[in-house]
Symmetry: C2
Subunit: 463 residues, 2 copies
């Protein structure tokens, strides 16, 4: 009866992996392949209607790397799956001992740029792949989506309301975290509020209204409990009669020295209704009462509402933010880019598969700014190159130990805001934004070309 969820804890994350990671590692171990290797975690291409990424998830990745272990219970299970006892002995003492370079959370990033770079014995670097991809896919996807929504809301507060449709418990928590990083004012998720210190918000459901004989009884009951700055949901039966009841209650509250916070619209034609509601509120000297809108909102609908001069002061955005509904995944991948040879030198590695080729060597990303400080273009080069732009990847872990002070969520949020301000506006439009220029350094381009020729020769393909 117990354990419906408790197995999703830190202790078990070593097994939250694709079986093939363990199979490959068993074979590496068996074949005494223990050399150092470097892997890049990057996003292969920009999805439709995305022209930048806002990177997030590093904190969870680093805590995973610091804590990943195999328990006896895991080893018993793996033995049953056919793994040899030598390899299981190795796993028993497994620690991640590698070096990690990464972008700070909240950074703006683009296609093909390493977001996290891992150098470690190949077994260690391989075994962690799935967890890293799962974490960065979710968090970077949501942070990016949320930043688009916050941007089009033009300074009006956005609250993340999607818990009921987010994909399970962990997604519910991480969506709240990521939305806050991207500039949302808060979340409806109480546990996320408690865990991350994010402000929590909420109004009332239609059921609350319906549980009373009269709508006004429900409004009065609710403001009795929460007299201060309450928001009343006015569209359960009809927005206009609902508004009349809200106005009545607002006037009653005034007599007791309180102010109604707002009214909420959750259905219907939000442009038309919000204008009507604003007018009636103002005609009743209730210009301090805000209009809060929700119901199937995303960046496209909010842009549309504001273009049509909807009189909305605050947006509650749920499902379409919390699932990144127009594009519920990003093509984040984790690819081998160099490996140590017998002599102890690193050899660059690349992959040729059609449409899935990769960049070889240990890389760094350099960002170049224009004379007003805006991002102009990036160059991906080799770590050893001395390129003039700002290097984006920072060392965050050395020999398995954190060398980086994990910033607070507020610091990450501020960093994200500043980074986003430096991205030129043309990349922030919702559809058909131009592609931000990401180039290769001459050295990396030459290396890629030479390796391609070598590989094609080796397998007798035309160059």
């Amino acid at each position: 009866m117990s354990g419906f969820l408790g197995f999703c804890n830190e202790k078990n994350m070593s097994l939250l992996t694709d079986f093939y990671e363990l199979a490959m590692c068993a074979s590496y171990f068996d074949n005494k392949k223990l050399e150092l290797a470097t892997f890049d975690l990057f996003i292969r291409n920009m999805p439709k209607n995305r022209s930048y990424f806002m990177f997030a998830g590093l904190e969870q990745v680093l805590l995973f790397l610091k804590n990943v272990r195999f328990t006896n219970e895991h080893l018993v299970y793996l033995k049953k799956q056919g793994f040899h006892s030598d390899f299981l002995d190795y796993l028993e003492n497994f620690r991640f001992s590698g070096d990690v370079w990464a972008l700070p959370e909240g950074s703006i990033a683009f296609q093909n740029e390493p977001l996290i770079r891992i150098t470690a014995p190949i077994i260690e670097a391989q075994i962690i792949e799935t967890f890293l991809l799962n974490t960065i896919n979710l968090q970077t996807m949501i942070t990016t989506k949320a930043s688009r929504i916050v941007k089009v809301a033009k300074g009006k507060p956005v609250i993340e309301f999607g818990l009921r449709r987010e994909h399970g418990i962990d997604a519910g928590m991480k969506v709240a975290r990521c939305s806050f990083i991207a500039g949302c004012e808060g979340t409806s998720n109480v546990l996320a509020g408690k865990k991350y210190g994010i402000p929590v918000f909420g109004t009332m459901a239609h059921s609350f209204i319906m549980s009373y004989k009269q709508e006004i009884d429900a409004f009065r009951a609710f403001t009795r409990t929460f007299p201060e700055r309450t928001t009343l949901l006015i569209d359960t039966y009809d927005e206009i009669t609902g508004l009349a009841n809200a106005i009545l209650v607002a006037k009653e509250l005034e007599k007791s020295g309180y102010k109604l916070g707002g009214v909420r619209l959750d259905s219907g034609d939000l442009v038309k209704t919000s204008k009507k509601v604003r007018e009636k509120l103002d005609n009743n000297d209730l210009n301090y009462v805000n209009i809060f809108a929700s119901g199937d909102l995303d960046e496209f609908r909010i842009a549309d509402l504001l273009e049509n001069s909807a009189r909305i002061d605050c947006f509650g955005v749920g499902t379409k933010l919390g699932t990144s509904a127009d594009r519920p995944y990003i093509n984040v991948v984790y690819k081998l880019c160099e490996i140590m040879d017998e002599k102890g030198n690193f050899s660059p590695i690349m992959k040729l598969s059609e449409g899935k080729s990769t960049l070889p060597g240990r890389k760094q990303v350099h960002r170049f700014k224009d004379n007003r400080g805006y991002f102009d273009y990036d160059i991906i080069g080799l770590q050893e190159e001395n390129l003039p732009g700002d290097p984006l990847l920072e060392k965050v872990m050395e020999k398995g130990e954190l060398t980086y002070d994990l910033p607070s969520l507020t610091v990450i949020r501020k960093y994200a805001k500043e980074a986003f301000q430096k991205l030129p506006n043309k990349y922030k439009i919702l559809k058909n934004a131009p592609e931000y220029p990401v180039r290769l350094s001459q050295t990396l381009e030459n290396l890629t070309r030479n390796l391609t020729v070598n590989l094609r020769n080796k397998i007798n393909l035309p160059n």
Copy 2:
């Protein structure tokens, strides 16, 4: 440094809720509103390209209801959020004491049909809303998506491979569970294998091949560790040279008394390549070697591959299954349908909002079959009616205690298979399937009509 995940445990699930649930409950408590109420959990409409749902998630819902508690730590946090101490005292002793009726997991369901029906004191029934929606949304959405994929694969095994792009840790676990319910043969997720007893599968990544100087060295190394029924990934550099190497290794394995299990294709034109690969394998007397395909698959691509006679024996389906990518949410809602009045009688309740109206009263769903035993149509009626079809909702919890033996995952899977077989094929086509008939009983229709008139009169709207 600790706690990057540990807070996502059973103990904390009471706070995994929208703030407004707690606010409404505080107000109910304050206003001494403690009467019994009934809520329906249902899906408002069929999403595009869906013509049925396969219901899942009940086990997690019931375990949540059995275990939901507020700890001292929660109460301290809620106090800071402005909740009164009387209400916090109530929460300290909170137990769910209601009755629950539900469909068994694996059931086939349709729009507007109650999937779970809760009768409890209104605070208890309200406070659990968000968790129920979050759980049923994810699991029913994924089970439905997986059943479509399994169906078009026409008996060829489908393995769920999506962990790296599923939305966080809990989604990773539940997608594996739901895919198995819907008929997938297994998952790549090792922790799901361990937790749920689902078979786990995996081959190798391109990085494994690339870490060796020659592809054939990688194949030999891998089969040294796993000589039995191994699958080799052949498209790292070029499928045809990869296949030649795989054939070499298969012949070497034969000499040692082993058989190669399969070759895997992960990119390129799968129709063309799989035919070429099949031919070469057969020409080398390797007709026992299977062809395993992966890479951006979903029900539409698999249908297309099989229509074009691709020679594929097994499908690995990842991202698009694990995120239900074409539709990453369902419109699952939780609505009040009756409440007890002062005299102890239940009054039916409904909501009128434009496009969001609900059905009043305590309901049951009856399924009518044709003379061959196939599902013909459903009628939603009131619980008290004696309709001839099979009633779908079963009592699973009484006064907060389970009255239902939670079936094993294998039993649920079998139940789902049998239910799906009774759904006529016309509802299983991928696009533009007809709408399955869901009607209201005469009694429910009359009740709905009368209540609508009453409500409209009350708020002076035209009927």
